[in-house]
Symmetry: C2
Subunit: 283 residues, 2 copies
């Protein structure tokens, strides 16, 4: 007798991707299975991923991505660590929506972005009410659109008629996740292919991918959290790890001590894991 | 503006309990965040817990526990590691059902067991078709009721009119999870209270609870997998750890090398975590 089909759903693959991302170790600077902060623990990432499920399910079921994302963040925030995977959810939600509509291709993901509305932008802002997220100050004259204003920014967003896709386009230069939204998720899809072509335990592939991505581009979250100089140092030292000139475990320890968290890079790993799982990567 | 309620549901608490259990370290002999087997990895436990969700949801929604359990196991088995948390699901499913019906009390959990039917027993057997579970040979004359027969045992179960609760009662002497079913889940509820009264990260409390339970009673899964002598040794050495005479990390390493897995003890930790989460334990 064959077992009835219980294959993971699209939303379950997204949830699992969040968990596999945080399970990869070493992942210099970020929480992983073997490193955590006193106020941000591995188990809080698991609770965050459990809580994000309902919002991810909305995205898979065709709800507008802004609303689905806001719900995912609201669910994620039901733990004591604060922001665990806000950026990973922001990257993954449109991919889940594309998968829910049919095939998870770059074209379909771009169409999800193009189809976003002003209401999606309003709900994106609302998501910032659930957790504290490190963000840049808005450009001069754009204070009305500071994401930290949450729902209070809604009139300004509506007045300008900005869709979520347009908002992301404006942030793309400073934010690696917004850049993915504005570029057909090119790095994320490419990383997914890399994951599929590698071997071994999935969480080990995820940590190897993390290091490769960290070495390839400056992490915009580190720029926001610290400064460009620090972000360049992290990128260069990841290159040293790949060249065999630096121990990744020592780098991981040092970055945790200095509270340098290359979060954007981790978010792209999560997005890539989701794509790979949807394409049949087995765990 | 207050965030709309996104508190974890009962099924989500059960799912999180499974994940927190496997995250506790050290947990001598079992897979945890820092120890795994080549053919049974930490990430496969996460995938198993993700997959078990639909079955757990059925239990919370009032579906018969046998059917809900069989669906949870079918979902759990959608990963390459085989049996990750069969016993934890068997222990947790009736507790989820009790929580779904109202209050998660021992009385209500006992009522769930009392109310089980012959069809629940048939579905319990069906669950064994999804994964290989180490079990004892049936007593002489009871070969027709060997769980490894899966659905093929259905006529024998129906002929005898055995409910799932009655089946558990018959296995209680050799199986720590069946003993919990037959005794109002006394160890599990007591362990939950211990978890709530302790401090620190939840996964650390879970590993401390694991050691305390391991020291207190022989693990019936170790008896099944190896023999009584081995199980007694494990219990005694856990007592040594508690007395400070043995290093838990060294014991963990040794038991993994000897492939001694005190799975029943881990299952009770998972059940206790679920009860504690339902009672408001915060992560």
């Amino acid at each position: 007798m064959t077992a009835p089909d219980m294959t993971r759903s699209t939303a379950q693959n997204a949830q699992l991707a969040l968990m596999l991302e945080v399970s990869g170790t070493p992942k210099p600077g970020n929480v992983d299975r073997e490193r955590e902060y006193d106020d941000l623990k591995f188990e809080q990432f698991l609770a965050g991923a459990v809580g994000a499920f309902d919002g991810l399910s909305l995205a898979a079921d065709g709800e507008p991505v802004g609303r689905a994302f806001e719900r995912a963040v609201a669910g994620m925030s039901q733990q004591q660590g604060g922001n665990t995977q806000f950026g990973a959810l922001l990257l993954t939600t449109p991919l889940v929506a594309a998968a829910g509509e049919g095939a998870l291709t770059r074209d379909n993901a771009e169409a999800v972005v193009t189809d976003t509305t002003v209401e999606d932008a309003v709900n994106f802002y609302r998501a910032f009410e659930h957790v504290d997220v490190a963000v840049n100050d808005p450009p001069e004259g754009m204070e009305a659109l500071d994401v930290r204003r949450g729902s209070d920014a809604a009139p300004a967003i509506r007045e300008r008629g900005l869709t979520l896709g347009e908002l992301m386009e404006e942030s793309a230069v400073n934010d690696g996740i917004a850049a993915e939204w504005s570029d057909g998720f090119s790095r994320t899809f490419e990383a997914a292919t890399g994951l599929q072509e590698s071997d071994g335990a999935v969480s080990n592939r995820a940590s190897a991918l993390f290091l490769a991505l960290l070495a390839s581009e400056v992490d915009t979250f580190v720029v926001t959290q610290h400064d460009t100089e620090t972000a360049l140092e992290v990128r260069d030292r990841a290159q040293d790890v790949l060249a065999g000139d630096e121990n990744p475990y020592e780098l991981a320890q040092e970055l945790v001590e200095r509270e340098i968290n290359p979060g954007t890079t981790a978010d792209i790993v999560a997005g890539a894991l989701f794509i790979a799982l949807e394409r049949g990567l087995s765990v």
